[in-house]
Amino acid sequence: MDGAGADAPAEELLGLVATGDQRAFARLYDQVAGRVLAVATRVLRDRAQAEEVTQEAFVEAWRTAARFDPARGSALAWILTITHRRAVDRVRAEQAGTRRERAVAAPGREYDEVAEAVVAVDERRQVRRCLDALSGVQREAITLAYWGGHTYREVAAQLNLGLPAVKSRMRDGLLRLKECLAVAR
């Protein structure tokens, strides 16, 4: 018998994955792979590399599922954390290898098109509104770091800020984003 229904929450599935349940893993994959691949693609701007990172992230999630603590957060955010870190590691390795200057965090055209197609979606707009609640510098600092894969030192240089300033913009921005998203509920 299956340990969980087809629509079981991702947290429950991840708990089963920690016991070696491959079926639960397949279901978890089906629930979140679309967003994992999307986040990796947006950071890496390269579909083939994003698929590799997606694969690495899911294997890491399988390997370390016992470390997931549901009291600390959602399974999706946990997997996206793994994904983002691996994607950023690749960006850095690529930069070190080629010294190629990456485009800044402005999304590529395909994402703009997709974003336009869903602009009417209310909850997405709510998240955007929360982003708008940040100051311009807070927003830029978070976006450059998260989607651009830049270190805070690089972000400081791009925004002409000192290191303490950029650290506090990131921190204040994230805290404000958290509060706005909680209030939006």
């Binding site: 087809a6 929450p9 920690a18 070696g20 491959q22 893993f25 397949a26 994959y29 089906d30 792979a33 679309g34 967003r35 691949l37 999307a38 986040v39 693609t41 947006r42 698929e51 997606t54 694969q55 899911f58 294997v59 399988w62 390997r63 370390t64 016992a66 470390r67 603590d69 009291a71 600390r72 957060g73 959602s74 999706l76 955010a77 946990w78 996206l80 954390t81 983002h84 950023v88 994402y111 974003a115 869903v118 909850e123 998240v127 770091a145 998260y146 894969g149 830049h150 270190t151 805070y152 303490p164 650290k167 990131m170 921190r171 994230l174 984003l177 958290k178 998203l181 909680a182 509920r185």
Partner: protein, 230 residues
């Protein structure tokens, strides 16, 4: 000094040395662990809403499932450092629960909207899948049921034609796994014509269709109008 770097660390915006320093620091700093967990939860929610989910190719699913099947798991369990101040920890935990609930709601909404938008694409993907198999059978009482299954996508497209309308009743689809039937969806209205997309078909042995009291049932009411071996 590590306290100032929590946000940059949560954003993966620190270098390798700083990352190691922060991770060493986290072993003793409950507040930092909580703050970073909340930041990552926030970032996960934000990032998930910022991107449009991408339909992963079937070969990626196969590759991932094949790799985990031969990858052993780490027994290391996440250990929360003991809180130095219990009241602070309790407040942070409560905040984490609020964020967690919000994430669940937003993600649920996003998934529903995405389902509507991409249903047509999903159906096309099943029909075009290299491993798609067609099963067809007449239904007891009239009508025709076709099921196209793609094991690699773990999805099926069901087409129902010319089934008699059933006033006051609903048609309900079932998937049988390990000898037990689970609902695969209740059709709207009293007729059963149209196209249905079913998820999580993997490991199902049979597809069934029954007439149920309006709104559907928890278990199938005999007789099965059709029983297709998958």
């Amino acid at each position: 000094m590590s306290h100032e770097l929590t946000a940059a660390y949560a954003l993966d915006a620190v270098d390798d040395t700083e990352r190691r320093e922060m991770e060493a620091h986290l072993a003793t700093c409950t507040d930092c662990v909580t703050e970073i967990a909340e930041m990552r939860e926030t970032l996960g929610l934000w990032a998930a809403a910022e991107v449009e989910p991408v339909e992963p190719p079937a070969y990626l699913r196969q590759a991932v499932l094949a790799r985990i099947a031969e990858t052993s798991q780490s027994a290391e369990v996440f250990r929360t450092p003991l809180p130095r101040r219990r009241y602070a920890y309790a407040g942070a935990a409560a905040a984490a629960v609020v964020v967690l609930a919000l994430v669940g709601v937003l993600i649920g909404q996003q998934v529903r909207l995405r389902d509507q938008r991409t249903r047509a694409d999903d159906i096309a993907a099943v029909l075009a899948a290299p491993d798609a198999q067609l099963h067809t059978a007449p239904a007891t009482g009239g009508g025709q049921v076709n099921v196209v299954v793609s094991p690699s996508l773990s999805r099926a497209v069901v087409t129902l034609r010319d089934l008699p309308s059933a006033p006051g009743k609903s048609y309900q689809m079932w998937l049988v796994r390990d000898g037990e039937a689970g609902s695969a969806g209740v059709l709207e209205g009293t007729s059963a014509d149209g196209v249905q997309l079913i998820d999580h078909v993997i490991e199902a042995t049979d597809f069934g269709l029954t007439k149920e009291p309006a709104g559907g049932s928890a278990a199938p009411t005999p007789p099965m109008l059709v029983d297709i071996k998958l």
